[in-house]
Symmetry: C2
Subunit: 318 residues, 2 copies
């Protein structure tokens, strides 16, 4: 018989969110910890201590299992393999499922790609409830993806299926953390938007609100671009339009693979949708083969960002 609670964990480049979830999919307690440390053992110790602390009120003996969504993570092996956006995961294989389980008295730990976890959460509680074929794109520090076919996550032969952030958007384009050039992730993630901003500021002769911000801070983030767009800054608006076009052109290439009913966007950058969606749809429909012209919806996640991944990850633990 399964027990009453599960733990759902969402590991990202900046932080990890941990939640205790009941059978109804309600997050009863949650906490966030930093992932900005170089030692994976240190992180896992902090994580397991946090789980113990959160579980106290429920009793660790009443926890059915732990589900983890983490970048570059493998459902079959329980490993996190060279997660380029996580400091302690870069360039190495972390046996994350086994390590957590060991520190939590052998509790069953199931791991998947963070985007897969969010895609699952969206299916159970979000905008994908009635959709059985979709491509889920997470626009965070990097770009992740989870592909759902006939209502089920696609894992592929090795558990790594759905790494669309590392398909080529611009041949010979920007250097990516994965060692390649031109990956989609280098253009349409939060960091990709910041890179576009820097490029466009240096290429643009005229001054703008955004270029002043850059001059002042000597740095620029996707949040700065968003704030400038909110002020009507033309350069900031052009940055989002460009981001939308790159997404649309690449989505046009994903569609003939799995013929999804929808592509669903999730993550920080998707909040700027009003600034890139029109260009995304235009580029997607101009570039996709006629079979799917004007037929595939692009939807926004209806879940709170932290909740989707925690809930999706927790679903693995039942």
């Amino acid at each position: 018989m399964t027990k009453d609670y599960v733990v759902g964990i969402d590991i990202g480049g900046q932080s990890a969110k941990i939640g205790i979830v009941n059978r109804k999919g309600e997050i009863l307690a949650q906490k966030s910890i930093s992932t900005k440390m170089s030692d994976s053992e240190e992180f896992i110790l902090l994580l397991c201590n946090t789980i113990r602390e959160l579980s106290k009120a429920f009793g660790l003996e009443n926890i059915n299992g732990v589900g983890v969504g983490a970048p570059s993570s493998n459902y079959y092996t329980g490993d996190m393999v060279n997660a380029t956006n996580v400091e302690w995961g870069r360039g190495k294989t972390v046996h994350i499922a086994a390590e957590i389980s060991k520190k939590l008295d052998g509790l069953k730990v199931t791991v998947t790609n963070d985007a897969n976890a969010a895609a699952l959460g969206e299916k159970m509680y979000g905008v994908a409830k009635q959709i059985d074929n979709y491509i889920y794109i997470t626009l965070g520090t990097g770009v992740g993806s989870g592909i759902v076919i006939d209502g089920k996550l696609l894992y592929g032969s090795d558990g790594f299926a759905g790494e669309l952030g590392h398909t080529c958007a611009i041949k010979g384009g920007r250097d990516c953390g994965c060692g390649r050039k031109g990956c989609l992730e280098t253009y349409v993630s939060a960091s990709g938007v910041a890179r576009t901003a820097k490029e466009m500021i240096s290429n643009s002769g005229s001054t703008s609100l955004l270029s002043s911000v850059y001059q002042m801070k000597n740095e620029i983030t996707s949040k700065d671009v968003y704030d400038a767009a909110e002020q009507g800054d033309l350069l900031a608006l052009e940055i989002f339009k460009y981001t939308g076009r790159v997404m649309g052109e690449k989505f046009a290439d994903f569609i003939p693979f799995s013929a999804p009913e929808a592509i669903i966007l999730f993550g920080g950058l998707s909040k700027a949708h009003k600034y890139f969606m029109a260009d995304l749809l235009k580029a997607m429909n101009e570039n996709v083969v006629f079979l799917w012209k004007d037929k595939v919806k692009v939807l926004l996640s209806s879940l709170k960002e932290s909740d989707a991944a925690i809930l999706g990850a927790s679903a693995l633990a039942w």
Copy 2:
């Protein structure tokens, strides 16, 4: 109770092959008819007459059903939608399943993409017997694909999944019959190789065996390129090397989607594998994200070309 025989049909740009298949997957009788006519009704009449003729020895009443593999065809609707490489299918929707069934006393007719049919045939009788996750690429007049996930064909939300021939290989590249530019099909099909040959001959200052052939015939086919390569013609060899590179670069982009164990090549052009395989593998492994570097096999179909599609199509009819 199912009856003893099925009909398997493979429709291509040049011809359609029709076979009567028994439960063991043996093709007991088969015939080929031309598809080079502009009227779909004329084709379907010829097809159905041929089926009746072939079935005579077995009795039409002993035929369990008809399976059809045809380009741009839809498993869910039974329609063939703008099959750009088939004269009578271009620019229109042909209700191929319904039309055949009507002319064959209501026999059940199931249709799928020709590449899907061949992929199924390979799974049952060919090199994919033991492989559950693969991408099947047919290199014929055009480029088709069938994607197998956990042993099953991927149809997607609308039945059209797996149209990888119409993903973009070269941005802004060659005009494709589908109305777009740069489709994979315009480079790595038989006609794509012929186009590469024409381009390279005009760009190359020096003469070669192949350029002489072109001058003489004022036309060139992939067969001419193959024959010249067999004679050691350097230009012909370079054409295949280029074809391999285009394939490899694009395959590198397919792999992160479904994490296949193998990509399987089928169709006329795959017979030239010795001239393009090394460059294909090099480009694929150089361009794929590290998770799959040197991990995905590229295999050749082990079935006779006509048999794979007939057998795969026939499998639909049981």
